[in-house]
Structure formats: C-alpha cells, structure tokens
Amino acid sequence: MHLRKNKGCRTNQTDNHCAGKQCDRREFLKKAATAAAAGSTAMISGCSNGILSPGEEFKLQWLEYFKKYYRLMTPVEKMETVRRLERLAKIRKGVDVKIGNQEPLDDVLYGYAFNVTRCEGYMECVAACVKENNLDRLSNTQYIRIFEMEHGEMTPDAGDSKFYHEVPVQDHFYMGVQCFHCENPPCVKACPTQATWQEPDGIVVVDYDWCIGCRYCIAACPYYGRRFNWNEPQVPANQITRKQHYLGNRLRAKGQMEKCTFCIQRSRNGRLPACAEACPTGARVFGNLLDPDSEIRFVLKNKKVYRLREDLGTDPKFWYFID
C-alpha cells in the first residue's frame, strides 16, 4: 500500500477544532430541549433510554429533517449535523460514535484490482465489509458478492453466488463484485436530486439523508452496485463500528440508498478498505492511481487486466487480473 499521505493534514484539524464547540452546542441543545420538552413530550414515541429527555431527540430530528444538501453545507453546518447525528446515535443506540467528514485528499484517485487467480472464496472480505460498514443484519445486506465460476467464464452471470460448501473447489475460480466506482457513473446521472455523486478522489458516494428512495440509480447501474434499505436497518449496538464517516458507514435509515464507498472512513485516513485488509490470500489490491509507485499501478502495468462490461462506457476503476 502506497497511499500518498496528505501534506496539508486538513482532515484531523476539523475534528480537533470542533471538540471545543461541541460542549457549547450540547449545552445549548439541552436548554432548548428542556424548554421544548414540556410541550412536545406527547409527540415522542418512547424510544429514548431514560437518561435523556425525549424532547431533545425530537429537536435533533427536526433540525436533521430540514438540513441542507451535504455539498451545499458550510463547514460549520457540516460540523453541526455531524454532532447531531452523534448525539442521536447516543440517544437511540446508546453508542458513542465518532462521525468524521474528512474531505478528499489532494492528488488521490482511488482504484481497485482483484486477483482472480488468488481468490479462493473464503468470503472474509464480505464479513469484514458487513462489520465495518454497519450493514443491515436483518435483511443481510452485503456490498460484496463472490461468484464461484467454472473455467471458461469471464463474467459473473454464469457463476454461482449462493455457494455454501468448503472452498476452494477444484477447477473453479472466484470473482468478487462490488461497486466499481465508475469514472462515468450512470447512477449519478440518473439521480433526480443529486443525492449521489462522484468525489474528487473518485469515490461515488450517497448523501443518505438527501436520497428520496426512488431507486432510479439501481435501474441505471449495470453492475448491481447499489443497495436499498427496504426495512429499518438493524445493527446490534455492541457490533456498531464507531469510527464513521458522514458519506460512509454511519447508520442509515429505511428508504435510503447505500453502497460501497471504498470504506471512505478508512481510505481517506490512509488505511485499506476493510475487504482488502481482511483478504487472507492477498487477492485485493487498493491504492492511489495517481501515485506511480503504488501497488495498483504496478498491477495495471505488469499484469493482464480486464474490466467488466467495458462496452457500456462506464469506465470502472475496478480491474480484474490474472497472475
């Protein structure tokens, strides 16, 4: 991994900067909530955990409902919504989460390569992804699909994604599919509210709270890269990954679209996505396409690589390669 570390280091700054302001805000909210509590208690469904006043949750929810589109928020507004979401997670789940909103790093464009020869179908990546990204346990949402394929096939259509037996199986190979973070993403073009877009570092993200749940992006995606929250997603409180990102693994609600973000909460801090880190065979390569010394550039230069459905012109940043 040769992720280029950002010289400016603006990501950590924002976090420290808001620590002081957080107290003020909480105090303010507490006062406001006490005032509002008397009138609004009746309107709250009893899902708070006793210690906290129900009026506060209502107030936070109210402010969240009318918040702006993420890309139009000022840094202060971004910080405020992050604090509100952290507080709501505490009220609802009793968990102290830390939601970051790190901006993209300079001179970084993420890319991913998948070694078809090495993958043996252990599915460690899937488990790590589910855990890291707080995916819904009720409907068993998974961003990554692993297809077991017979030799002679190149696309997952012919493979089996529901295999349940000891791996690897003789004369078979395995192929992982997830969001390919296309350079020309049809989902972004389709979204009627611009709730999904491509970040400067190439990651296609969703502003969960801005999504209206029309699912036109699912129809537009040729790779089955997007997942919809058909029910209220459920993650046991003790399994919630607490280090979160606004555009990444923070808790979603029903009716919202979500997808792989190359673990934005990790990658923007110079770490590997959970899937790449978990892979026991080293089949997953992730890195900065703009860094000539990165492993991903080495793979693209020296291996035989191919991409799925190049004919559609989506220009995925996800390559398969053969050793």
């Binding site: 409902y65 589109y69 409907s139 699909r145 297809f147 696309t155 997952p156 259509d157 012919a158 493979g159 994604s161 599919v177 049809p186 073009k189 389709a190 979204c191 009627p192 509210t193 611009q194 709730a195 709270d209 801005w210 999504c211 209206i212 749940g213 029309c214 699912r215 036109y216 699912i218 129809a219 537009a220 995606c221 040729p222 790779y223 089955y224 997007r226 997942r227 919809f228 929250n229 058909w230 029910n231 209220e232 029903k254 009716g255 919202q256 679209m257 559609l312 012109g313």
Partner: protein, 415 residues
C-alpha cells in the same frame, strides 16, 4: 368588473361542487364504494410508511414493481387524450369536439394516478421536497426522472387550465375566447407526445438494461397508448351514454374506433418486430424476453400474464376492426375492455419486471405484488376514478345546459 369576476367564480365553484356530489342513491353508493376503496389503500400505505418498502415484494433485484408498472401504463392513458384534442382542434372535427372535455378529464384522472403511483413508490416520501427546484436540488437536465416530473406536472396544468376556462365560460353562457385558449391547446398537443416519449426515455436511456435499451420503446409507447387511451375513453363514453342524459353520437364511436384500430395494428406490428429481434438469433440480451415469454430457470410467473395479454391485444384489435358494420356502443365495450387490459398487462408488469430480471449479475427471481402493493394500487386507481367522476359530472351538466341554451336561442332566431 373585478367584483363580478369574483362573484362569477364563486357561483361556478359552488355549483360545480354541488353537481359533482349530488345524485341518486346509486350515485351516492358508487361514491361511497370508491371512498371505501381509497381508505383501504390509505391503510395499506400507512402500513408501508411505518415498516418501509419491505412490505412490498420488491427487492434489490426487482427494484421497481407494481407501482411503477401502473405509472408507466397510465402515462399512456393520459397522453391519449391528444387523439381527441388533435382532430377536434386541428382538423376542426365537430363530432369529436363534443367529447373533447371527456378526453381531457380522463387525462387529468390518469395524471393524478401517475403522480400518486410515483409518490407511493418513494422510499423517503417525507424527503420528496428535496426535488423542488430552488428549495431542493433538481438534477435537470441530467436525470430523466426530473424531465418526467416537469412534463407530467406541465401536462396536468395544461389539462386543468383549458377545460376549466372553457367550462367557466359555458357555465355563464358566454362564448369562450379562442385566442385565449388556443395556444395552450396546441401546446398541450405537443406536450402529450412529450410526456410519453420522456417516460419511454426514462427506460430507453439505460444501457444497463438491455430489455429497455431499445429505440423502439418510445414509438411503441405512443402506439400502445393511442390504442389503450381511446379504448378507455370509449368505455367512459359508453357509460356516459347509458347512465346519463348526455347522449353520444354513433359518429363519435365510429371515429374513435378508427383511431383505435390503426394504433392497435401499429402496436402489434412493433410488438412482432421486437419479438422477432429477440428470438431469431437470441443473444445474451434476449434473456429478459425469454424470462417474460417462456420463463427462465423455473421462474415463470409472468408467462401466463404476457400470453393472455397478447391474446387480448390481438382479439381486441380484431374485434375493433371487424365488428360488422354496427357502431352501437354496446358492441364496443368487450373489445375496449380486452384491448385496454391487454395493453395494461403488457405495458405494465410485462415491461418493468423483465427490464430488471435477470439482474445485471445474472440472477433470476420471480416477482408478484404483495397485498400492500395490491391494496395501495386499488386505492390509487379508485382515487383516479373518483377524480374523473367528480370532474366529469359537473362538466357534462354545464355542456348540456350550454348546448340546450344555444339550441333554444337558435330556434328563437328562426322563429
């Protein structure tokens, strides 16, 4: 001057309300039944609102289902009013001009249903305000969905404005000023083609879905709409003719029949062309069509539906073409019902589900709507019928009065 306008308007609104709600026991019972069905739909929607779209049978693979299927079909019904508006205003057809108001009211009802169907399909209905231009983010012109929102709302506005103005004038026994409404009529003619083409482009523009990514989609949408829409209008006319004092001339049925036959034949030719392309040398992209017509990997829930739809299409077209000589409305009813239902199935569920199955990764699943989806759909359809009834009843009373008035004036002049 201003005061009298306000007075005229209040009288108009008051009478229209009274006329639309008053009627015999049968009429009241009919309205109550519709209201009960709408309440049932509302209940089903509350269940969906509370628990999320998980109560539907949609999934990440079949991500659009019964709602969007009905929406797509009804856009066609709304657009079809143009087949009456166009001849009556462009070719000055006096017969069709008499029923132009009925076509417009049917279009309004269809549009109300379309928008409700899209709304109930949203995962975040409370977030729908994010779509409002300037307040939210309206991804225009990139997203075809925003185009569709624009054209549907525009068409609804046009179809409300023009008839309201004409009826208002007729109500006060004045001749409507042609210069005032004609531009809007012509705009609405172009707009009608627009709403259906844009809705087709919504699907046609997705290379991810080979079943939809087909340039014939737009023209075929239009042809099927111009058959199904006038078929529905025929049904409404037959009901009006038999249930009210407003009588429809046989000449009108004859003309509608001609429109329907031609459109239905063009639709069948295009259907044949599509089937030929899918099955002559089947490719990987023919899998959705195989799934639709013959079933894939044992998933064949759609098969009986599509074949009965094609049967109804062909039979309906033949009946319209060869009803021997008579233009009596009773003979049209079965043909209209057959054709309408056939196209409904084919342009609804037979279009949406195969677009999504097999999934982009090759998975094949079955889909049938859940009770919530069926319940909400019944509710929305009842809402549409309700709207059409409440608008049509006063409209016909006003038109009839206006014509009688004009008739008696003419006789008075002759005397």
């Amino acid at each position: 001057m201003k005061k009298s306008l306000v007075k005229d308007l209040t009288a108009f609104v008051k009478d229209v309300t009274v006329w639309s709600l008053s009627g015999g026991v049968g009429y009241q019972l009919y309205l109550c039944t519709l209201a009960a069905l709408m309440m049932f739909g509302l209940y089903a929607y509350m269940v969906q609102f509370k628990l999320g779209l998980t109560v539907t049978n949609m999934s990440d693979i079949v991500s659009w289902g019964f709602y969007i299927a009905n929406f797509t079909f009804l856009v066609g019904v709304a657009a079809a009013a143009v087949m009456i508006i166009l001849p009556s205003y462009v070719f000055k057809d006096k017969d069709l001009h008499k029923v132009v108001i009925i076509g417009e009211v049917v279009a309004i009802g269809a549009l109300v249903m379309c928008m409700t169907f899209v709304f109930v399909d949203l995962g975040g209905p409370l977030q729908a305000w994010h779509l409002i231009p300037f307040i939210g983010r309206f991804n225009w012109p990139s997203s075809l969905l925003t185009w569709d929102i624009l054209v549907l709302n525009g068409y609804l506005a046009l179809n409300l404005m023009v008839p309201a103005y004409i009826l208002f004038c007729h109500y006060h026994n004045r001749k409507p000023d042609e210069r005032k409404y004609r531009p809007f009529v012509f705009l609405s003619i172009f707009w009608a083609f627009g709403i259906h083409l844009v809705t087709a482009f919504l699907y046609e523009g997705l290379p991810a879905r080979p079943f939809w990514n087909n340039p014939l989609m737009g023209p075929r949408f239009l042809a099927s709409a111009f058959a199904a829409g006038p078929a529905l209008i025929t049904m409404v006319l037959v009901i009006v003719h038999t249930q009210t004092t407003f009588k429809i001339q046989p000449e009108i049925f004859k003309k509608l029949r001609r429109i329907i036959v031609i459109s239905a034949i063009i639709n069948l030719i295009m259907l044949f062309s599509e089937i030929f392309k899918e099955f002559y040398l089947p490719t990987h992209h023919s899998l959705p069509a195989m799934y639709l017509y013959f079933g894939l990997q044992g998933h064949n829930t759609l098969v009986p539906w599509i074949w009965s739809a094609i049967g109804m299409n062909v039979l309906g077209t033949l009946m319209f073409a060869f009803i021997p000589g008579r233009n009596h409305p009773v003979f049209f009813m079965p043909a209209a019902i057959l054709l309408f239902t056939g196209i409904w199935i084919e342009k609804g569920i037979g279009l949406i589900v195969p677009g999504l199955v097999p999934s982009p990764l090759g998975e094949v699943v079955s889909y049938a709507p859940s009770w919530v989806e069926v319940g909400i759909t019944i509710g929305v359809l009842s809402l549409g019928v309700f709207v059409v009834t409440l608008l049509l009843k006063p409209a016909l009373i006003i038109e009839q009065r206006y014509e009688n008035e004009a008739g008696s004036q003419a006789t008075a002049v002759q005397d």
